[in-house]
Amino acid sequence: MASTVSPPDVAWMLVATALVLLMTPALAFFYGGLVRSKNALNTMMMSVCALGFVGVAWALLGYTLAFAPGSAFLGGLSRALLSGVGLEAQGTIPQLLFMAYQGTFAIITAALVSGAVVERMRFGPYLAFVTLWSLLVYAPVAHWVWGGGFLAKMGALDFAGGTVVHVNAAVAALVAAVVIGKRKDYARQAILPHNVPFTLLGAGLLWFGWFGFNAGSALAANGIAALAFANTMLAPAGTLVTWTLLDLVRTGKVTAVGAATAIVVGLVAVTPAAGFVGPMAALVLGLLAAFPSYFALLYRARTRLDDSLDVVAAHGLGGSVGALLTGVLASKAWNGTADGLLFGNPAQLGIQALGLLSAIAYSGVLSFLLLKGIALVAPLKIDRQHEGLGMDVSQHGEEAYADHDGAVLILESSADAAVPLGALATEGGRS
């Protein structure tokens, strides 16, 4: 491992870190647009607050559990509270920058889980869940693949986190949707997206940030980064085309929510493959990845599983397809590391499958125990009355789209209840 810091690599990784951080607010818009207006702020806050809570947890403990030298299953505690994390080279960038870059991954991964529990999970237990989940589930799985753990030693290929990030989050999402239960209106009333343009905005910003996620995972400004960058452009384009055609053939109408979903599915699928496969292989991977997710979405809506924003169909299936196809399409001619099935190395597909199954089993069990543990302290789900009122008012005391007619200012000094109806604020200019 090179032990000197390379300025060009530092420059690229600074940008890449900022790009990945942007993905979490982007996810807030993607998810926020898909829920009803009375739950818009709550849904967006689930992503936004992960920036804080998971970010802090990462600095205190997450980084050391994932990346400090340790066992095959977990990092040690030598870098707890960032001790010994300074400007010395980790690869060709300062370890501090490496820590920040990896932290943005922990944040977005935890925030992804929220899609399965929106419109009903109480906010306090949610914060406890994502914070502890990032330490107990995300950090160990990241260690297995990227921190020198057992999957790394076996040669599992996960370039930017198809298994570590997406399958991992999707399994936790599945478990959370089952443990917390469905929304009271689920399968009884039409629950429709309140702002599809938000969702398209979120998908666009996710794509933009994902260049940092995938190309940044080269951890250097080199050819592999360029390969991952091009693949991150091509695969979602392929998925978008397949998805659009499926929409056209099935209903005759191309949907915007479908297009936004397709972009995310393509990005998820190319994530594990980005720096390992050639550009045409990435395109094929993108084209193929649309099928399982598209039909899983249609099927899920008819089941009793209220995975509200389809984390499992988009991230779970997309990530699994990507991880397995990486084992098929990986090409040593491009990556210099390993070949896949198509290039005469069928064993790679088996290793990929083992990596997937390990993450699924671990994330499933630990997420279940964690949720049950938190449920002993505080109820996870909102009561029906407040669920009906909306999570924005009940959890945050704010509304996304209130016109605030009839809002009476409460002054610290006055007896607030004494304000007569005649003194209503008429913000809209009505009087």
């Binding site: 009375k38 209106d185 009333q189 039409a190 009355q385 009906g388 009122l389 909306g390 008012v393 005391g397 704010e398 509304e399 209130a402 605030h404 007619d405 009839g406 809002a407 009476v408 200012l409 409460i410 607030d416 304000v419 109806l421 209503l424 604020a425």
Partner: protein, 123 residues
């Protein structure tokens, strides 16, 4: 002929609609309104500003019905809109002097008796 005006919680609007359709009430108008009915206020905070929301969001149903439909209509709303908490809303039944159906010029009871749609899909 009566006009049934019902003010219900927004989160109950879908259930009320469903109950009305089940009771064969097919013609209605709804609007989003705000009102004050003595329920406890919501308190919201934006930065340093704390406000009490005196006006609550409600959904208003306007349903013109012939006399024998008043009872099932009111019963449907009463059952579907109730939570038992203050703020469930009100139902007003008002006398109506005259009703016209604009398309045909039909009057009164004929104007509020739904027609069977013959051919769907004609634009």
């Amino acid at each position: 002929m009566k006009l049934v005006v019902a003010l219900v919680r927004p989160e109950k609007a879908a259930e009320v609609l469903e109950a009305l359709f089940r009771a064969d009430v097919q013609g209605l108008t709804i609007s989003r309104v705000q009102g004050h009915g003595g329920e406890t206020e919501k308190v919201e905070t934006y930065r340093g500003t704390t406000v009490k929301m005196e006006l609550q969001e409600k959904v208003r149903f306007d349903i013109g019905v012939s006399d024998h439909f008043v009872e099932p209509t009111v019963r449907a709303v009463l059952t579907a809109a109730r939570t038992g908490e203050v703020g469930d809303g009100k139902i007003f039944v008002l006398p109506v002097e005259k009703i016209y159906r604009i398309r045909t010029g039909e009057e009164d009871r004929a104007a509020v008796t739904p027609v069977q749609v013959v051919a769907a899909g004609r634009a």
